[in-house]
Symmetry: C2
Subunit: 462 residues, 2 copies
């Protein structure tokens, strides 16, 4: 990978500007009002792959948003790397907490990003991290150093559950044939503590609706005499955790992977400062399942969080109403061996079962996916580790992440290859939050590190 | 009250059209976007009082929306009736549940209103019921039959807590001097079961805010490790009732008036059909405090209801977020002897006290008011009872209402006179709900009944 540093130095400004342009398109897959923008983003990704050197790029239709597929095949006997990423982004709400508009990228320095960071929805998740791969390919083709075959599969529905990707993968085994899958959609511990994600949590996302009376009622005339769906919903949600913050759904923990003392001791070695963690979030205490540390709670333990709740009068002032309905969006993060479809069913059965008389309860599954654990002795992991060593000067730490990329388990099942999660973002980059950003240093470091992965993977593979 | 029936017959269409015009102005006091409409409504009320025969009408400024004051004095030795009402209305949300726009009145028949009902926000609460008094005055002045003095005090902030009315009343003892206060802002049992409201519940309305982390977080990366303000809010709300649906706030029941067995037996005589009640609301069971009947639960017992809740992502689709904040609007209906300011303080202390570490809780009182009970042997009650007998052919039943008109207790304290609650609406009129309406029959019956009250009150008073 000769001259990677000088190539980057020469083109750095353009790399940044291209990403900024991509971030200006509000590709919010959850909101159908942005449909044209999502489609426009797929076109932009196609063009960028063509410019970066792909031989063929196609926009593959699905029942939802299209998948952009591109490839550059340099030799039949050479290994193939399949890059996965997504061009859709999370909704930017609440808008009033953004310091600058989410789709008007600005570059500002922060404490953790003294070289500047790009602030925009999708900067890190996943447009920025995806674009590192496009630019890494550009370098390798421009300098004639691509050591193996490469395929790109970039979808537009990751933030809404990848509903159509599974079908695409199942129907395109041949096209997607590969020796390793490479994804940058996770983070690392710190700029001076590189890490590779070796585990992801699964996910079950549901929406619940509690219906009381058939119309909104005056809380004076009916208050105290009929079940108020908000009060009932609150009670039902509260009952989902016991006093030790264990989840109370029968069977929920049945298949949870229990780590050994040794494994937990190993995990505990990762650098973590509870005071800094609390200070960064401005909280006076952490909160979670009894008997586990913060790092364990958000990686090896399953969770249940309400992601949204609404019902009744939520405008300015006061309204004395008992609403007819109350709603919540609830997600559960799952750990290896928990099956998301089974958990979704357990939730549904339990939640409908605890509804008191006087209300009707409906549970609608949104989407979900299995958790994933990747071995650290695979060729892919070794190549990635060596790549980080080369560019960071340090061996990366294997780390379980609390996040989910539901489709990863499916990739392994369908395509029979391991996924390597090379993430360059930081936890503090505020993905899914207002003021999401991605460090310029991290963006550039990613572009620099990825070609080394190709090199080492090809070498070890042979 | 000669010729009241023929006068009404002659002018009925105009009476309806004038009310329809008044209902077209969206005087939503809770939402500052409607400020001009609220003010416009005050002007309309002023004009209608002038036309109905008041000698002087003024729009009295307050720190909020103005109070319309009008009077017609016919003799210094004659008694004076003070009519109170409000020209503001509840917000119409949720708009999508209205069959016709809330401020475009339409007349339709219903099962309970075979002669038709006017559908519009404020039709019953309180523009329609208030306007009965204006038209009753018109009849009495037009036919030279007004037997006593009359004063009107019509405010524009009832639906947001009458924040400025108390000051107005305190500063205008002389102007507001009266012998009885007459209000139509309640209901009656049925068109063939007239009733007079003898009790109102008090109210304490608060807003609560639970803050967890200082920003919205990704529920994968942080889920299970920090307190989620929605889960915490649900837990806190759930804990406000015990398994028997008693309210758990320490001291809450301390001053609650406990009715005797005899009083409860008397109450139980009011016609009530549990099956019809459940069918009308499409619920399979009623729900409330153990040991009390439905009619008791919503009249002689205090309650706590969440009127609105919101937090996190409430848009289309899914977002895996742990929000920084969650909110709820909570109101408590209070019974005689409970002091609303004391209860508000008890709530605040308790709610802030049960917040777990990891969140901050803020309780903001909105407004409130004391409960009220009126004796059934007062001149006012006797006059009202006789008026109903004259026009309905039946003695009205004295009935405790679950609703609140917080200002009534203050009237008695400041103006030393009793309030008579002559309501002509039905519980099924959907006040505070979508599709609020007011029966044409009820509207006309109110206009017919009110002049008899004036007559009998004056006669008994002498």
């Amino acid at each position: 990978m000769n001259a990677i540093k000088s190539y980057i130095k020469q083109h750095k400004e353009r790399f940044i500007n291209e990403l900024v342009d991509l971030l200006k398109i509000p590709s919010i897959s959850a909101d159908s009002a942005y449909r044209n923008d999502v489609l426009k983003t797929a076109e932009a990704i196609k063009k960028s792959l063509e410019k970066a050197g792909c031989d063929t790029v196609e926009i593959c239709k699905t029942d939802g948003y299209p998948i952009v597929y591109g490839e550059k095949i340099v030799g039949k006997t050479l290994p193939t790397v399949l890059v996965y990423g997504h061009y859709d982004v999370q909704p930017p709400d609440p808008l009033d907490l953004w310091y600058s508009p989410p789709f008007e990228p600005v570059i500002k320095t922060t404490e953790k990003h003294p070289d500047g960071a790009i602030f925009a929805r999708g900067a890190c998740d996943d447009k920025g991290q995806l674009y590192m791969h496009v630019k890494a390919l550009e370098f390798m083709t421009a300098t004639n150093q691509l050591p193996c075959n490469v395929k790109f599969m970039i979808e537009g529905e990751e933030e809404v559950g990848s509903a159509n990707l599974a079908t695409f993968v199942k129907n395109n085994h041949k096209k997607l044939e590969n020796d390793v899958i490479l994804i940058s959609d996770t983070g690392m511990i710190a700029n001076d503590v590189p890490s590779i994600t070796t585990g992801l949590r699964g996910l079950s996302y549901v929406e619940v609706e509690v219906t009381g009376p058939n119309r909104d009622l005056h809380s004076g005339l009916y208050g105290g005499a009929v079940a108020n769906p908000i009060n009932i919903l609150a009670k039902m949600i509260a009952s989902l955790h016991d006093e030790n913050n264990h989840i109370t759904i029968p069977g929920f923990y049945g298949k949870v992977e229990e780590l050994s003392k040794e494994e937990r001791a190993e995990m505990a070695k990762a650098p973590f400062n509870l005071e800094s963690y609390k200070n960064a979030l401005d909280i006076d205490a952490v909160y979670g399942e009894k008997g586990f540390t913060t790092n364990e709670r958000n990686s090896i333990r399953p969770t249940l969080d309400v992601n949204g709740i609404w019902g009744g009068y939520i405008g300015e002032g006061a309204k004395t109403v008992i609403p007819s309905k109350a709603f919540a969006k609830i997600s559960m993060r799952l750990v290896p061996h928990q099956d998301w479809e089974e958990i979704t069913q357990l939730f549904k059965t339990h939640f409908e079962g605890i509804a008191p008389k006087g209300v009707k309860v409906k549970v609608t599954p949104h989407h979900g996916g299995q958790g994933y654990v990747t071995p650290i002795d695979s060729i892919g992991y070794l190549a990635a580790s060596k790549a980080y060593e080369t560019t960071f000067g340090k061996t990366p730490i294997p780390q379980r992440s609390g996040g989910s990329i539901p489709i990863v388990a499916l990739f392994e099942k369908e395509l029979k290859s391991k996924t390597i999660l090379m993430g360059f973002g930081l936890d503090s980059d505020a993905i899914h939050s207002p003021n999401e950003h991605f460090g310029i240093w991290n963006y550039i470091k990613g572009i620099e590190t990825i070609p080394w992965f190709y090199k080492y993977f090809t070498e070890i593979f042979e």
